[in-house]
Subunit: 540 residues, 2 copies
């Protein structure tokens, strides 16, 4: 039928994003707050010019299309330039998480066969330590060393004139690589294609997703090495919004940026917002023009959602993972939002939102049977769609089923209103008497109790019930909250048979390199734990 | 590189739109106001069920993938169902404009080789008249005849159970066909692909385009046969917005719908809005919850933009054509909107907006040289992008250049702020002394003069200047406005050398089947016209 007539060929290539920004939004500001507090300003015209020069610099070093170009950097305009410079010459951008342990960084860089590494001065010591053990990196460039450093980014670009045309190709070509932090086994690489990245960016700007317009000013407080800062550096040139990038996550620095740059949209994990809220409550700082906050990475507690709401800020609770580009669901306002009571709105926002056009979610039981979207049953969450992984980098087998369903490792319920609610990680769920207890709900319930700073629930082997919950608690400074007080609070939050059989206090809980609670380490610490007394356990 | 890893295959097929709507927004209302005032309600779940049954009905009649299924209908849920039913079984939806003359309808239906025609009762006489002359139509179905009519849509679907899976295929497969009204020569068919349609829909919902969210309630007052109602019936299921379709364009009917259905977004051509404004000014009716109005098809006059603004309604002035799906530019708010004075905002809105990500605009002179975006020079407008035509239906040569640039036949200026301003149609521009006079600006200037209801400017041959402008005016009811008064007003609006050499009054101006001013007919009417007196002409 193709000979009957046709619309135009137009490969979905990532560089079209910055071509558009350069042409239509060339003067739109990109603000960077570097480590140490220095603030610089650039715009799309300059970023694209530098990206062209970087593409020339890469070619001058013999880098070819398909080669991997790594970054070890926080958020700033240099990093943004490097993304588009690397992809512009046909390379594959590989963002490495600098918070990983040395051996993980080595594994990832060697597995990816990175040929170039561009890094922040702040990570120079890491680079120095590992330099001799990187197997394929020939070129090291520092983003923010002094211009007279021959290895500085500026010096590296200096000989080039920017007279360069992007490498064209197929829209299925890979453009970016990001490794999952991998709580079990070695990290695995997710290889994004031009097409998947572009479709994700187009979906992300929609009013029910990040709601990004030219008028918006967006500050992601999620690192560019973390699932591509949730796609914001791709979506920004599409809309021409103002972009604020901060390498510095101290709340006082961020609050200055909210005020000085008139930020309207922001995004981050709950830990970041907890720090921000604490700072604001303590100092009287404020969030100025902020209107929309996207929260993802882990569940946002009710108090956090209410705190933002009381300041007229709409919370979009989102869920996703590196394997999903990352947006799998997001809490745009539903059709009946204006008719909802405030309590109904909060209840809606506590769920992880709805699926944007493109992706599809379902939950299945242990036999793989699809469960109803009744808001009652929970099961393993699966996802499919154009920005969802099919096969990890260099693997020989698909990670997704032939019909596309990818097992997320999360446990969730799907509600009749279309929202998805994460109830646990598959490996963290506590299996008691054939039923599942959500460790996340126990933890969220516990942190709502005065005097509890942080809490983690894990399953402990039990002769009768297979597993029963142990709650491990960090008290707030100066608090002497007791197990009975916590239990009395929990009973108002969860089913009686979910109540932990024991509550233990610790000074701190273990966290992963990306700041998430490490249940794996906690389980190791409590491997020998046995309940001293089963009396507290209530029958079902 | 494909073996290195991959994201998922997910062909950009139109039926994914309604799959999404059925799953995520199944109960979202679709309201239809039928000819005669009857209002019915349905939702995506029911529309998709009926579309599946229609796909079965088509297959039962021997219709195969790639066959053309025509509609001759106004806006209502039956028409919407037919769109997705036709495409769902792999067919090509062909929307015929019922306002065309018999011979044009015949030409189009026979050229398309339509095999099925589904029509409104209101056009039954047309169908009856032409029935014997349609060369390929075997099946005639009436959308709104009584259920006991064996040719009714309901009766046609009745035997089928909806147990049907959409025909899958390549994303480059055609899905819809729409003929341009063609002021010269025979109408030409634009064949939209699944891919072009889906990308256009994804772009259209963006905040800087139609700004469509689940919460929105959208009423297109543009017919579904007119460039697919500007794509709204594709964008609606993507977002889950409420959709209001009216077969009846009487302002009183439309105002009732605005109020009763709490419409927030609407779209139409200036003629429709003129009628609406006149009705509201006369009766005191109002537009209730309306917040966003998209105006396209021809230029919106200043007074119209100001009228909407004074009611707190944001005007998005757009430009496009059947060949561009249709959105080529649209006036979302620019970055500095909030800092603009009211007058600056109006000036911005008077232009036809900016290009959304995906399409690209440029202007060229008569030799094809690209002109600067300086807001001063105007030239022939060209466009390219993934939802722009490459080749007309059944043609053997491309309509676009090898690098994608498609000549729109419009004359425009591109401004430094990224906006595009249509100054004329290539064939309407008045060429005087080697320079161009915009007929549109003369007309817009003239209708701003009290007592002028409608105006048209055409070029009349002139011995010295090649052409000079003649202004043909329809006076408002009861007005006796004079040429001198009009000229006195015009002098405040346009350059002195643009002033028409003569002004003639007529009772009415000729219009095309789609309601546009027919300059072609007007030029024929004034073919023998000569200026009686060249004294009025001022030198340059």
């Amino acid at each position: 039928m193709k000979s009957l007539g046709a619309m135009q060929d137009w490969p979905l290539r990532v560089m079209r994003l910055v071509d558009h920004a350069e042409r239509e939004h060339g003067a739109r500001e990109i603000v960077s707050a570097w480590a140490g507090g220095r603030v610089t300003r650039t715009n799309w015209r300059e970023v694209v010019y530098d990206a062209r020069r970087m593409a020339q610099a890469l070619e001058a070093r013999g880098i070819r299309p398909g080669d991997r170009i790594a970054t070890l950097a926080m958020n700033h305009s240099g990093h943004l330039t490097a993304w588009y410079g690397a992809i512009g010459m046909g390379g594959i951008l590989h963002t490495i998480n600098p918070r990983l342990f040395d051996e993980q960084i080595l594994f990832i860089a060697n597995h990816a066969e990175d040929r170039v590494l561009i890094y922040d001065q702040a990570f120079a010591a890491t680079v120095e330590r590992l330099k001799s053990r990187f197997e394929a990196i020939e070129t090291f460039v520092c983003f923010d060393s002094k211009a007279d450093d021959p290895e500085s980014f500026i010096a590296w670009l200096a000989p080039h004139d920017g007279n360069y045309c992007w490498v064209e190709g197929d829209e299925l070509d890979p453009c970016a690589l990001c490794y999952t932090s991998g709580t079990t086994g070695n990290p695995k690489g997710v290889l994004y294609s031009h097409r998947s990245t572009l479709l994700h960016a187009m979906a992300e700007v929609a009013p029910d997703s990040f709601n990004l317009s030219t008028k918006a000013c967006v500050m992601p407080i999620v690192p560019m090495f973390h699932a591509n800062a949730w796609g914001i550096p791709w979506a920004a040139p599409l809309t021409g919004c103002k972009l604020v990038l901060s390498a510095d996550y101290r709340p006082e620095q961020l609050c200055d940026l909210y005020r000085d740059e008139e930020v309207t949209h922001s995004a981050g994990v709950p830990t970041v917002w907890l720090g921000m809220i604490e700072h604001i409550e303590r100092t009287g700082a404020n969030l100025a023009n902020l209107k929309y906050v996207t929260i993802g990475g882990s569940a946002a507690p009710r108090a956090m959602i209410e705190w933002f709401r009381s300041r007229g800020i709409h919370v979009m609770h989102a869920w996703g993972m590196t394997e999903t580009s990352p947006i799998g669901s997001i809490g745009g306002m539903p059709a009946n939002w204006n008719e909802m009571t405030s309590e109904e709105q909060v209840a809606f926002s506590l769920h992880q939102g709805r699926t944007p056009f493109g992706v599809e979610l379902r939950i299945v039981d242990e036999e793989g049977k699809v469960l109803p979207r009744d808001g009652v049953q929970s099961g393993t969450l699966q996802i499919r769609g154009p920005w969802v992984i099919r096969r990890y980098f260099k693997e020989t087998a698909d990670a997704a089923a032939p019909d596309g369903w990818f097992d997320t490792g999360d446990v969730a319920a799907l509600h009749p209103d279309g929202t998805m609610q994460i109830t646990d990680r598959s490996k963290d769920v506590i299996k008691s008497g054939g039923e599942w207890i959500s460790s996340i709900e126990l933890e969220n319930g516990a942190v709502g109790c005065a005097g509890v700073s942080e809490a983690a629930a894990i399953g402990i082997a039990h002769p009768k019930w297979d597993e029963r919950p142990l709650l491990v608690v960090v008290r707030s400074e100066g608090s002497d909250v007791t197990p009975d007080q916590i239990r009395a609070h929990l009973i108002t939050q969860v089913a009686r048979w979910w109540l932990p059989d024991a509550i233990e206090f610790v000074d701190e809980l273990p966290h992963t390199a990306t700041g998430k609670l490490s249940k794996k380490t906690l389980r190791e610490q409590f491997a020998a734990y046995r309940f001293a007394d089963a009396v507290q356990m209530v029958g079902r």
